[in-house]
Protein backbone atom coordinates (compact mmCIF):
# COMPACT_ATOMS: atom_id res chain seq x y z
CA UNK A 1 0.00 0.00 0.00
CA UNK A 2 1.09 3.58 -0.48
CA UNK A 3 3.14 4.85 2.39
CA UNK A 4 1.20 6.98 4.75
CA UNK A 5 3.96 8.66 6.73
CA UNK A 6 1.66 9.89 9.48
CA UNK A 7 -0.02 6.53 9.98
CA UNK A 8 3.28 4.63 9.85
CA UNK A 9 4.69 6.95 12.48
CA UNK A 10 1.66 6.50 14.73
CA UNK A 11 1.66 2.71 14.35
CA UNK A 12 5.41 2.47 14.93
CA UNK A 13 5.09 4.45 18.15
CA UNK A 14 2.31 2.10 19.24
CA UNK A 15 4.45 -0.99 18.60
CA UNK A 16 7.47 0.48 20.41
CA UNK A 17 5.23 1.37 23.32
CA UNK A 18 3.84 -2.18 23.44
CA UNK A 19 7.38 -3.56 23.31
CA UNK A 20 8.44 -1.41 26.24
CA UNK A 21 5.44 -2.46 28.33
CA UNK A 22 6.34 -6.10 27.68
CA UNK A 23 10.05 -5.62 28.36
CA UNK A 24 9.33 -3.86 31.64
CA UNK A 25 6.56 -6.24 32.78
CA UNK A 26 4.03 -3.41 32.93
CA UNK A 27 1.29 -6.00 32.97
CA UNK A 28 -1.80 -3.87 33.51
CA UNK A 29 -0.77 -1.28 30.96
CA UNK A 30 -0.08 -4.01 28.41
CA UNK A 31 -3.42 -5.67 29.06
CA UNK A 32 -5.14 -2.32 28.57
CA UNK A 33 -3.85 -2.19 24.98
CA UNK A 34 -6.19 -5.03 24.03
CA UNK A 35 -9.66 -4.59 22.61
CA UNK A 36 -12.51 -6.85 23.72
CA UNK A 37 -12.31 -9.20 20.73
CA UNK A 38 -8.62 -9.89 21.40
CA UNK A 39 -6.77 -12.84 19.92
CA UNK A 40 -3.20 -13.37 21.09
CA UNK A 41 -1.73 -16.16 19.01
CA UNK A 42 1.70 -17.81 19.08
CA UNK A 43 1.47 -20.70 16.61
CA UNK A 44 3.54 -23.87 16.73
CA UNK A 45 4.73 -26.01 13.84
CA UNK A 46 4.54 -23.32 11.20
CA UNK A 47 2.75 -20.05 10.55
CA UNK A 48 -0.36 -21.23 8.77
CA UNK A 49 -1.81 -23.76 11.16
CA UNK A 50 -5.46 -23.70 12.18
CA UNK A 51 -5.50 -22.76 15.86
CA UNK A 52 -9.04 -24.07 16.20
CA UNK A 53 -7.83 -27.56 15.23
CA UNK A 54 -4.10 -27.66 16.03
CA UNK A 55 -1.91 -26.95 19.03
CA UNK A 56 -0.46 -23.45 19.45
CA UNK A 57 1.95 -22.26 22.13
CA UNK A 58 -0.53 -19.50 22.97
CA UNK A 59 -4.04 -19.01 21.63
CA UNK A 60 -5.67 -16.61 24.08
CA UNK A 61 -8.96 -14.80 23.85
CA UNK A 62 -9.59 -11.70 25.95
CA UNK A 63 -10.46 -13.60 29.12
CA UNK A 64 -7.46 -15.90 28.84
CA UNK A 65 -5.17 -12.90 28.37
CA UNK A 66 -6.62 -11.58 31.58
CA UNK A 67 -5.95 -14.90 33.34
CA UNK A 68 -2.37 -14.88 32.04
CA UNK A 69 -1.83 -11.42 33.46
CA UNK A 70 -3.44 -12.32 36.79
CA UNK A 71 -1.16 -15.34 37.07
CA UNK A 72 1.93 -13.21 36.45
CA UNK A 73 0.77 -10.75 39.10
CA UNK A 74 0.40 -13.39 41.83
CA UNK A 75 4.17 -13.32 42.30
CA UNK A 76 4.05 -17.13 42.33
CA UNK A 77 4.42 -17.69 38.61
CA UNK A 78 7.75 -19.41 39.27
CA UNK A 79 9.01 -19.26 35.70
CA UNK A 80 8.73 -15.45 35.98
CA UNK A 81 9.94 -15.18 39.57
CA UNK A 82 12.32 -13.43 39.23
CA UNK A 83 11.02 -11.97 35.98
CA UNK A 84 13.07 -12.41 32.82
CA UNK A 85 15.18 -9.42 31.92
CA UNK A 86 14.26 -8.40 28.44
CA UNK A 87 15.15 -6.08 25.61
CA UNK A 88 13.52 -6.37 22.23
CA UNK A 89 13.97 -4.69 18.91
CA UNK A 90 10.89 -4.15 16.75
CA UNK A 91 11.83 -3.50 13.14
CA UNK A 92 10.80 -3.88 9.49
CA UNK A 93 7.46 -2.30 10.31
CA UNK A 94 5.20 -2.48 7.30
CA UNK A 95 1.62 -1.32 6.89
CA UNK A 96 -0.22 -4.17 5.19
CA UNK A 97 -3.61 -2.57 4.79
CA UNK A 98 -5.99 -0.26 6.52
CA UNK A 99 -9.71 -0.03 6.00
CA UNK A 100 -12.32 1.69 8.11
CA UNK A 101 -10.83 1.76 11.57
CA UNK A 102 -8.67 -1.38 11.18
CA UNK A 103 -4.97 -1.39 10.40
CA UNK A 104 -2.95 -4.50 9.68
CA UNK A 105 0.75 -4.29 10.38
CA UNK A 106 3.71 -6.62 10.04
CA UNK A 107 6.99 -6.31 11.94
CA UNK A 108 9.95 -8.40 12.97
CA UNK A 109 10.91 -8.81 16.60
CA UNK A 110 14.22 -9.85 18.09
CA UNK A 111 14.11 -10.44 21.82
CA UNK A 112 16.99 -10.99 24.20
CA UNK A 113 15.95 -12.80 27.38
CA UNK A 114 18.12 -13.30 30.44
CA UNK A 115 16.81 -15.46 33.27
CA UNK A 116 17.95 -18.09 35.75
CA UNK A 117 18.52 -20.66 33.00
CA UNK A 118 20.76 -18.34 30.98
CA UNK A 119 20.46 -16.10 27.95
CA UNK A 120 18.12 -16.84 25.06
CA UNK A 121 17.52 -15.00 21.80
CA UNK A 122 14.07 -15.19 20.27
CA UNK A 123 13.16 -14.08 16.77
CA UNK A 124 9.66 -13.69 15.39
CA UNK A 125 7.65 -12.34 12.52
CA UNK A 126 4.71 -10.53 14.06
CA UNK A 127 1.39 -9.49 12.62
CA UNK A 128 -0.97 -7.10 14.35
CA UNK A 129 -4.48 -5.93 13.75
CA UNK A 130 -4.93 -2.53 15.36
CA UNK A 131 -8.16 -0.65 15.69
CA UNK A 132 -8.84 3.02 16.19
CA UNK A 133 -11.07 3.45 19.22
CA UNK A 134 -11.78 7.13 19.81
CA UNK A 135 -8.42 8.85 19.86
CA UNK A 136 -6.29 5.81 20.53
CA UNK A 137 -5.19 2.57 18.92
CA UNK A 138 -6.12 -0.77 20.44
CA UNK A 139 -4.81 -4.21 19.59
CA UNK A 140 -7.41 -6.71 18.45
CA UNK A 141 -5.05 -9.41 17.15
CA UNK A 142 -1.40 -10.18 17.59
CA UNK A 143 0.27 -13.14 15.97
CA UNK A 144 3.83 -14.01 16.96
CA UNK A 145 5.37 -16.50 14.54
CA UNK A 146 8.62 -17.59 16.16
CA UNK A 147 10.99 -18.49 13.36
CA UNK A 148 11.93 -21.74 15.12
CA UNK A 149 8.41 -22.71 16.17
CA UNK A 150 8.80 -26.06 14.42
CA UNK A 151 11.50 -27.05 16.90
CA UNK A 152 11.47 -27.65 20.66
CA UNK A 153 11.70 -24.30 22.45
CA UNK A 154 12.52 -23.33 26.00
CA UNK A 155 9.93 -22.06 28.45
CA UNK A 156 8.26 -18.92 27.09
CA UNK A 157 6.51 -17.36 30.05
CA UNK A 158 7.30 -13.69 29.57
CA UNK A 159 4.99 -11.63 27.33
CA UNK A 160 6.20 -12.26 23.82
Amino acid sequence: MATDGGLLQEVSQFLYHEARLQDTHAYDDWEALWDDDAVYWVPANGEDTDPEREMSFIYDNRSRISLRIKQLKTGKRHSQTPPSKLARIISNIELLDSADSQIRVAANAMIFESNLRGDTVWAARNEYTLRRVGDILKMSRKKVALVNNDKPIYTLSFLV
Binding site: E52, R53, M55, L67, R117, P152, S157
Partner: protein
Protein backbone atom coordinates in the same frame (compact mmCIF):
# COMPACT_ATOMS: atom_id res chain seq x y z
CA UNK B 1 29.24 -48.24 24.87
CA UNK B 2 31.00 -46.92 27.93
CA UNK B 3 32.62 -49.10 30.54
CA UNK B 4 30.45 -51.61 32.32
CA UNK B 5 29.49 -50.45 35.78
CA UNK B 6 29.76 -53.16 38.41
CA UNK B 7 26.42 -54.40 39.67
CA UNK B 8 27.12 -53.28 43.21
CA UNK B 9 27.67 -49.73 42.04
CA UNK B 10 23.98 -49.32 41.23
CA UNK B 11 23.06 -50.58 44.69
CA UNK B 12 25.42 -47.98 46.14
CA UNK B 13 23.67 -45.21 44.17
CA UNK B 14 20.03 -46.30 44.51
CA UNK B 15 18.67 -47.06 47.95
CA UNK B 16 15.02 -47.55 48.86
CA UNK B 17 14.43 -44.04 50.17
CA UNK B 18 17.17 -42.03 48.50
CA UNK B 19 19.13 -41.82 45.26
CA UNK B 20 22.50 -40.34 44.49
CA UNK B 21 22.61 -37.02 42.65
CA UNK B 22 25.07 -38.31 40.05
CA UNK B 23 22.24 -40.34 38.51
CA UNK B 24 20.86 -37.08 37.12
CA UNK B 25 24.07 -35.38 36.03
CA UNK B 26 26.83 -37.87 35.21
CA UNK B 27 27.25 -38.08 31.40
CA UNK B 28 28.68 -41.61 31.73
CA UNK B 29 25.53 -42.80 33.49
CA UNK B 30 23.44 -41.20 30.74
CA UNK B 31 25.33 -43.22 28.10
CA UNK B 32 24.64 -46.42 30.01
CA UNK B 33 20.94 -45.49 30.31
CA UNK B 34 20.74 -45.19 26.54
CA UNK B 35 22.03 -48.74 26.12
CA UNK B 36 20.18 -50.38 29.01
CA UNK B 37 16.88 -48.51 28.93
CA UNK B 38 16.22 -46.48 25.80
CA UNK B 39 17.78 -48.89 23.28
CA UNK B 40 16.54 -52.04 24.96
CA UNK B 41 13.22 -51.64 26.79
CA UNK B 42 9.80 -50.98 25.27
CA UNK B 43 9.56 -47.27 24.49
CA UNK B 44 6.39 -45.48 23.37
CA UNK B 45 6.83 -44.13 19.85
CA UNK B 46 3.52 -42.81 18.54
CA UNK B 47 -0.13 -43.50 17.84
CA UNK B 48 -1.61 -45.10 14.72
CA UNK B 49 -4.02 -42.16 14.32
CA UNK B 50 -1.00 -39.99 13.42
CA UNK B 51 -0.58 -42.01 10.21
CA UNK B 52 -4.19 -42.83 9.22
CA UNK B 53 -3.60 -43.43 5.50
CA UNK B 54 -1.37 -45.74 3.52
CA UNK B 55 2.04 -44.14 2.84
CA UNK B 56 1.65 -41.65 5.70
CA UNK B 57 4.76 -41.12 7.79
CA UNK B 58 5.76 -39.03 10.79
CA UNK B 59 9.10 -38.50 12.53
CA UNK B 60 9.17 -39.84 16.08
CA UNK B 61 11.98 -40.91 18.37
CA UNK B 62 13.42 -43.61 20.59
CA UNK B 63 15.63 -41.84 23.09
CA UNK B 64 17.63 -39.12 21.30
CA UNK B 65 17.38 -41.10 18.04
CA UNK B 66 14.82 -40.15 15.36
CA UNK B 67 12.55 -42.92 14.07
CA UNK B 68 10.23 -42.81 11.07
CA UNK B 69 6.80 -44.18 11.93
CA UNK B 70 5.35 -45.24 8.61
CA UNK B 71 2.18 -46.86 7.34
CA UNK B 72 3.49 -48.72 4.32
CA UNK B 73 1.70 -49.26 1.01
CA UNK B 74 0.12 -52.44 2.37
CA UNK B 75 -1.20 -50.58 5.43
CA UNK B 76 1.24 -52.07 7.93
CA UNK B 77 2.78 -49.82 10.60
CA UNK B 78 6.59 -49.87 10.57
CA UNK B 79 9.35 -48.15 12.50
CA UNK B 80 12.27 -47.35 10.19
CA UNK B 81 15.60 -45.75 10.95
CA UNK B 82 16.27 -42.65 8.89
CA UNK B 83 19.84 -43.49 7.93
CA UNK B 84 20.86 -44.42 4.42
CA UNK B 85 22.85 -47.68 4.63
CA UNK B 86 25.23 -46.23 2.05
CA UNK B 87 26.82 -43.20 3.75
CA UNK B 88 24.49 -42.40 6.63
CA UNK B 89 22.56 -39.53 5.07
CA UNK B 90 18.94 -38.89 6.07
CA UNK B 91 16.52 -40.31 3.52
CA UNK B 92 13.79 -37.97 4.77
CA UNK B 93 14.17 -34.48 6.25
CA UNK B 94 10.54 -33.43 6.48
CA UNK B 95 8.71 -34.18 9.66
CA UNK B 96 5.61 -35.78 8.21
CA UNK B 97 3.84 -36.42 4.97
CA UNK B 98 2.68 -39.09 2.55
CA UNK B 99 5.23 -40.94 0.45
CA UNK B 100 5.46 -44.40 -1.03
CA UNK B 101 9.25 -44.25 -1.13
CA UNK B 102 12.22 -42.37 0.29
CA UNK B 103 15.13 -41.29 -1.86
CA UNK B 104 18.47 -40.39 -0.35
CA UNK B 105 19.56 -37.07 -1.86
CA UNK B 106 23.25 -37.95 -1.77
CA UNK B 107 23.49 -40.78 -4.36
CA UNK B 108 19.80 -41.35 -5.09
CA UNK B 109 19.37 -44.69 -3.37
CA UNK B 110 15.63 -45.23 -3.18
CA UNK B 111 13.77 -47.23 -0.56
CA UNK B 112 10.21 -48.48 -0.46
CA UNK B 113 8.32 -47.39 2.67
CA UNK B 114 8.65 -50.92 4.05
CA UNK B 115 12.42 -50.29 4.10
CA UNK B 116 13.43 -52.39 1.07
CA UNK B 117 16.11 -50.96 -1.19
CA UNK B 118 14.35 -50.56 -4.54
CA UNK B 119 17.24 -49.24 -6.54
CA UNK B 120 20.47 -47.25 -6.67
CA UNK B 121 21.94 -45.05 -9.35
CA UNK B 122 24.20 -46.73 -11.95
CA UNK B 123 23.61 -50.28 -10.68
CA UNK B 124 26.33 -51.81 -12.88
CA UNK B 125 28.81 -50.64 -10.24
CA UNK B 126 27.26 -52.99 -7.68
CA UNK B 127 27.77 -56.30 -9.42
CA UNK B 128 27.62 -59.14 -6.91
CA UNK B 129 26.14 -56.95 -4.16
CA UNK B 130 23.12 -58.44 -2.37
CA UNK B 131 20.59 -55.61 -2.57
CA UNK B 132 18.27 -57.18 -0.01
CA UNK B 133 20.87 -56.61 2.74
CA UNK B 134 21.02 -52.86 2.10
CA UNK B 135 17.51 -51.77 3.09
CA UNK B 136 16.71 -49.22 5.78
CA UNK B 137 17.08 -50.68 9.25
CA UNK B 138 13.92 -51.18 11.26
CA UNK B 139 13.34 -51.04 15.00
CA UNK B 140 13.72 -54.75 15.83
CA UNK B 141 10.44 -55.11 17.70
CA UNK B 142 7.20 -53.20 17.28
CA UNK B 143 3.97 -53.81 19.19
CA UNK B 144 0.70 -51.93 19.14
CA UNK B 145 -1.89 -51.82 21.91
CA UNK B 146 -5.16 -49.99 21.11
CA UNK B 147 -3.35 -47.77 18.65
CA UNK B 148 -0.38 -47.00 20.96
CA UNK B 149 2.77 -47.95 19.07
CA UNK B 150 5.78 -49.10 21.07
CA UNK B 151 9.23 -50.11 19.84
CA UNK B 152 12.11 -51.98 21.35
CA UNK B 153 15.66 -51.91 20.02
CA UNK B 154 16.27 -55.34 21.58
CA UNK B 155 15.53 -58.38 19.44
CA UNK B 156 14.09 -60.25 22.39
CA UNK B 157 12.76 -59.58 25.86
CA UNK B 158 9.39 -59.39 27.55
CA UNK B 159 6.32 -58.85 25.36
CA UNK B 160 4.70 -55.42 25.38
CA UNK B 161 1.76 -56.72 27.40
CA UNK B 162 4.12 -58.26 29.96
CA UNK B 163 5.96 -54.94 30.16
CA UNK B 164 2.80 -52.86 30.56
CA UNK B 165 1.31 -55.23 33.15
CA UNK B 166 -1.14 -53.43 35.41
CA UNK B 167 -0.74 -50.20 33.44
CA UNK B 168 -2.80 -51.75 30.64
CA UNK B 169 -5.81 -50.77 32.74
CA UNK B 170 -4.90 -47.11 32.31
CA UNK B 171 -4.93 -47.35 28.52
CA UNK B 172 -8.22 -49.27 28.65
CA UNK B 173 -9.70 -46.65 30.99
CA UNK B 174 -8.57 -43.85 28.70
CA UNK B 175 -10.03 -45.42 25.56
CA UNK B 176 -13.38 -46.07 27.27
CA UNK B 177 -13.86 -42.32 27.57
CA UNK B 178 -14.34 -42.25 23.82
CA UNK B 179 -17.81 -43.28 22.66
CA UNK B 180 -16.04 -45.30 19.96
CA UNK B 181 -13.47 -46.76 22.33
CA UNK B 182 -10.52 -45.11 20.60
CA UNK B 183 -8.38 -42.06 21.11
CA UNK B 184 -6.80 -40.04 18.34
CA UNK B 185 -3.83 -37.69 18.21
CA UNK B 186 -4.69 -35.22 15.50
CA UNK B 187 -3.82 -31.79 16.92
CA UNK B 188 -0.01 -31.80 16.50
CA UNK B 189 2.54 -31.56 19.29
CA UNK B 190 3.97 -28.72 21.32
CA UNK B 191 7.65 -29.33 21.99
CA UNK B 192 9.17 -27.94 25.13
CA UNK B 193 12.93 -28.03 25.61
CA UNK B 194 14.43 -28.02 29.08
CA UNK B 195 17.89 -28.05 30.59
CA UNK B 196 17.16 -30.94 32.91
CA UNK B 197 17.60 -34.68 33.15
CA UNK B 198 14.70 -36.77 31.84
CA UNK B 199 14.17 -38.48 35.20
CA UNK B 200 13.20 -35.24 36.92
CA UNK B 201 10.32 -35.06 34.43
CA UNK B 202 9.49 -38.75 34.77
CA UNK B 203 9.29 -38.53 38.57
CA UNK B 204 7.31 -35.30 38.60
CA UNK B 205 4.46 -36.73 36.53
CA UNK B 206 3.07 -38.70 39.48
CA UNK B 207 4.39 -36.43 42.21
CA UNK B 208 1.19 -35.38 43.92
CA UNK B 209 3.11 -33.35 46.50
CA UNK B 210 4.06 -30.42 44.26
CA UNK B 211 0.85 -29.14 42.58
CA UNK B 212 -0.39 -27.08 45.52
CA UNK B 213 2.90 -25.19 45.58
CA UNK B 214 4.26 -25.11 42.03
CA UNK B 215 0.82 -24.32 40.64
CA UNK B 216 -0.46 -22.09 43.42
CA UNK B 217 -0.38 -19.11 41.05
CA UNK B 218 -3.02 -20.55 38.75
CA UNK B 219 -5.07 -22.46 41.33
CA UNK B 220 -5.50 -19.28 43.34
CA UNK B 221 -7.02 -17.30 40.47
CA UNK B 222 -8.75 -19.86 38.25
CA UNK B 223 -11.89 -21.62 39.34
CA UNK B 224 -10.01 -24.88 39.64
CA UNK B 225 -10.63 -27.81 41.93
CA UNK B 226 -7.35 -29.47 41.00
CA UNK B 227 -5.65 -28.24 44.15
CA UNK B 228 -8.04 -30.21 46.38
CA UNK B 229 -7.12 -33.44 44.63
CA UNK B 230 -3.57 -33.08 45.90
CA UNK B 231 -4.26 -31.71 49.36
CA UNK B 232 -3.46 -33.32 52.67
CA UNK B 233 -7.06 -34.55 52.99
CA UNK B 234 -7.21 -36.10 49.52
CA UNK B 235 -8.38 -39.70 49.18
CA UNK B 236 -6.59 -40.05 45.85
CA UNK B 237 -3.89 -42.71 45.71
CA UNK B 238 -0.42 -43.02 44.31
CA UNK B 239 0.18 -46.44 42.79
CA UNK B 240 3.21 -48.44 41.70
CA UNK B 241 2.25 -50.93 38.97
CA UNK B 242 5.74 -52.42 38.84
CA UNK B 243 8.03 -52.24 35.78
CA UNK B 244 8.44 -48.53 36.54
CA UNK B 245 4.82 -47.63 35.71
CA UNK B 246 3.12 -45.35 38.22
CA UNK B 247 -0.06 -43.35 38.62
CA UNK B 248 -2.03 -40.97 40.70
CA UNK B 249 -5.44 -42.60 40.93
CA UNK B 250 -7.91 -39.75 41.29
CA UNK B 251 -10.98 -41.98 41.04
CA UNK B 252 -11.61 -42.09 44.81
CA UNK B 253 -12.04 -38.30 44.80
CA UNK B 254 -14.22 -38.31 41.70
CA UNK B 255 -16.37 -41.15 43.07
CA UNK B 256 -16.81 -39.18 46.28
CA UNK B 257 -18.09 -36.25 44.21
CA UNK B 258 -20.32 -38.67 42.25
CA UNK B 259 -20.93 -36.13 39.46
CA UNK B 260 -20.37 -37.18 35.84
CA UNK B 261 -17.73 -35.07 34.05
CA UNK B 262 -16.74 -33.36 37.27
CA UNK B 263 -13.26 -34.84 36.61
CA UNK B 264 -13.10 -32.54 33.56
CA UNK B 265 -14.41 -29.53 35.47
CA UNK B 266 -17.67 -29.51 33.55
CA UNK B 267 -21.14 -31.04 33.59
CA UNK B 268 -23.30 -33.28 31.41
CA UNK B 269 -25.51 -30.28 30.51
CA UNK B 270 -22.59 -28.60 28.79
CA UNK B 271 -21.66 -31.59 26.63
CA UNK B 272 -25.01 -33.10 25.62
CA UNK B 273 -23.81 -34.64 22.34
CA UNK B 274 -20.95 -36.41 24.11
CA UNK B 275 -23.18 -37.70 26.89
CA UNK B 276 -25.73 -39.02 24.39
CA UNK B 277 -23.00 -40.78 22.41
CA UNK B 278 -21.56 -42.34 25.58
CA UNK B 279 -24.95 -43.58 26.73
CA UNK B 280 -25.67 -45.03 23.29
CA UNK B 281 -22.30 -46.79 23.28
CA UNK B 282 -22.13 -48.16 26.82
CA UNK B 283 -25.64 -47.93 28.25
CA UNK B 284 -26.66 -45.24 30.73
CA UNK B 285 -25.29 -46.95 33.87
CA UNK B 286 -21.86 -47.84 32.53
CA UNK B 287 -21.58 -44.46 30.76
CA UNK B 288 -22.24 -42.76 34.08
CA UNK B 289 -19.48 -44.75 35.78
CA UNK B 290 -17.00 -43.94 33.01
CA UNK B 291 -17.90 -40.26 33.15
CA UNK B 292 -17.44 -40.18 36.92
CA UNK B 293 -14.04 -41.92 36.87
CA UNK B 294 -12.68 -39.92 33.93
CA UNK B 295 -9.31 -40.55 32.35
CA UNK B 296 -6.12 -41.77 34.06
CA UNK B 297 -3.09 -39.91 35.34
CA UNK B 298 -0.56 -42.58 34.56
CA UNK B 299 3.16 -42.56 33.75
CA UNK B 300 4.18 -45.50 31.60
CA UNK B 301 7.92 -46.05 31.95
CA UNK B 302 10.05 -44.59 30.53
CA UNK B 303 8.37 -41.96 28.36
CA UNK B 304 4.56 -42.04 27.97
CA UNK B 305 2.54 -39.87 30.33
CA UNK B 306 -1.24 -40.02 30.03
CA UNK B 307 -2.17 -36.82 31.83
CA UNK B 308 -5.98 -36.94 31.91
CA UNK B 309 -6.58 -34.76 28.84
CA UNK B 310 -3.06 -34.65 27.44
CA UNK B 311 -0.50 -37.09 26.23
CA UNK B 312 3.14 -36.31 26.96
CA UNK B 313 6.18 -38.02 25.52
CA UNK B 314 9.45 -37.53 27.40
CA UNK B 315 12.57 -37.54 25.24
CA UNK B 316 16.11 -37.54 26.64
CA UNK B 317 18.61 -35.52 24.59
CA UNK B 318 21.61 -35.33 26.91
CA UNK B 319 22.22 -35.86 30.60
CA UNK B 320 21.02 -32.32 31.25
CA UNK B 321 18.68 -31.74 28.33
CA UNK B 322 15.25 -33.16 27.53
CA UNK B 323 12.22 -32.46 25.41
CA UNK B 324 8.60 -32.76 26.48
CA UNK B 325 6.30 -33.43 23.52
CA UNK B 326 2.66 -32.81 24.37
CA UNK B 327 -0.68 -32.84 22.61
CA UNK B 328 -4.36 -32.85 23.49
CA UNK B 329 -6.00 -36.26 23.65
CA UNK B 330 -8.94 -36.54 21.29
CA UNK B 331 -11.78 -39.01 21.73
CA UNK B 332 -12.99 -40.57 18.50
CA UNK B 333 -16.60 -39.55 17.96
CA UNK B 334 -16.65 -36.64 20.44
CA UNK B 335 -16.07 -33.32 18.61
CA UNK B 336 -17.64 -31.17 21.34
CA UNK B 337 -15.45 -32.75 24.01
CA UNK B 338 -12.36 -32.60 21.81
CA UNK B 339 -12.58 -28.88 21.25
CA UNK B 340 -12.53 -28.27 25.01
CA UNK B 341 -9.57 -30.60 25.44
CA UNK B 342 -7.61 -28.68 22.83
CA UNK B 343 -8.43 -25.33 24.41
CA UNK B 344 -7.53 -26.49 27.92
CA UNK B 345 -4.35 -28.13 26.68
CA UNK B 346 -3.13 -24.98 24.97
CA UNK B 347 -3.79 -23.01 28.13
CA UNK B 348 -2.11 -25.32 30.57
CA UNK B 349 0.85 -27.07 28.96
CA UNK B 350 3.73 -26.42 26.60
CA UNK B 351 6.40 -23.70 26.96
CA UNK B 352 3.87 -20.94 27.72
CA UNK B 353 1.35 -23.05 29.63
CA UNK B 354 -0.12 -21.94 32.95
CA UNK B 355 1.09 -25.21 34.50
CA UNK B 356 4.00 -26.65 32.55
CA UNK B 357 6.12 -23.51 32.35
CA UNK B 358 6.40 -23.70 36.12
CA UNK B 359 6.96 -27.47 36.33
CA UNK B 360 9.74 -27.03 33.82
CA UNK B 361 11.21 -24.18 35.82
CA UNK B 362 11.40 -26.61 38.75
CA UNK B 363 13.20 -29.25 36.64
CA UNK B 364 15.85 -26.75 35.65
CA UNK B 365 16.34 -25.56 39.21
CA UNK B 366 16.61 -29.18 40.37
CA UNK B 367 19.25 -29.82 37.74
CA UNK B 368 21.31 -26.77 38.63
CA UNK B 369 21.03 -27.60 42.31
CA UNK B 370 22.95 -30.81 41.79
CA UNK B 371 26.14 -28.86 41.06
CA UNK B 372 26.18 -28.09 44.78
CA UNK B 373 28.25 -30.78 46.42
CA UNK B 374 26.44 -31.43 49.64
CA UNK B 375 24.18 -33.27 50.42
CA UNK B 376 25.02 -35.77 47.69
CA UNK B 377 21.64 -37.53 47.90
CA UNK B 378 17.99 -36.85 47.05
CA UNK B 379 15.44 -37.88 49.66
CA UNK B 380 12.47 -39.95 48.41
CA UNK B 381 11.12 -41.36 51.63
CA UNK B 382 7.82 -39.52 52.01
CA UNK B 383 5.06 -41.96 52.95
CA UNK B 384 7.34 -45.02 53.23
CA UNK B 385 5.67 -45.84 56.56
CA UNK B 386 2.19 -45.95 55.04
CA UNK B 387 2.71 -47.94 51.84
CA UNK B 388 0.20 -50.76 51.50
CA UNK B 389 -1.07 -53.22 48.90
CA UNK B 390 -4.32 -52.69 47.01
CA UNK B 391 -6.75 -55.45 46.01
CA UNK B 392 -4.58 -56.27 42.97
CA UNK B 393 -1.38 -56.45 44.98
CA UNK B 394 0.02 -53.12 43.75
CA UNK B 395 1.71 -50.77 46.23
CA UNK B 396 -0.41 -47.72 46.98
CA UNK B 397 0.07 -44.65 49.12
CA UNK B 398 -1.29 -41.18 49.80
CA UNK B 399 -1.66 -38.82 46.84
CA UNK B 400 1.28 -36.77 48.08
CA UNK B 401 3.72 -39.62 48.78
CA UNK B 402 6.99 -40.40 47.01
CA UNK B 403 5.78 -43.92 46.33
CA UNK B 404 5.85 -43.46 42.51
CA UNK B 405 9.47 -42.30 42.60
CA UNK B 406 10.46 -45.30 44.68
CA UNK B 407 8.75 -47.60 42.16
CA UNK B 408 10.50 -45.91 39.26
CA UNK B 409 13.91 -46.25 40.88
CA UNK B 410 13.32 -49.88 41.82
CA UNK B 411 12.69 -50.69 38.18
CA UNK B 412 15.49 -48.43 36.95
CA UNK B 413 17.93 -50.26 39.18
CA UNK B 414 16.85 -53.64 37.83
CA UNK B 415 17.35 -52.45 34.25
CA UNK B 416 20.76 -50.94 34.96
CA UNK B 417 21.91 -54.06 36.79
CA UNK B 418 20.78 -56.38 34.00
CA UNK B 419 23.61 -57.83 31.94
Amino acid sequence: MSVEVPRQQWASLIESGRVHGSLYCDPEIFKIELEKIWYRAWVYVGHTSEIPNRNDFVTKSIGPMPVLMVRDREGEVRLLLNRCPHRGNAVCVVEKGNRASFTCPYHSWTFANDGRLMGYAFPDGYEGVEKSTLGLSAVPRIAIYKGFVFGSMATDGPTLEEHLGGALRAIDQLCENSPEGEIELTAGFLRHRTKANWKFILENECDGYHPGFVHASIFSIADSKIGELYGGESTALTRDFGNGHTEVDLRPEFRRRDVPLSWFGTSTERLPAYVAAMEAAYGADRAREIMIDGTPHTMIFPNLFIAEIQLFVIQPIAVDESIQHVTALQFKGAPDFNRRMRQQTMGSVGPAGFLLADDTEMYERNQRGLSIRDPEWLFLNRGAHRERRDENGFLVGHATDDLPSRGIWRHYKSLMEAV
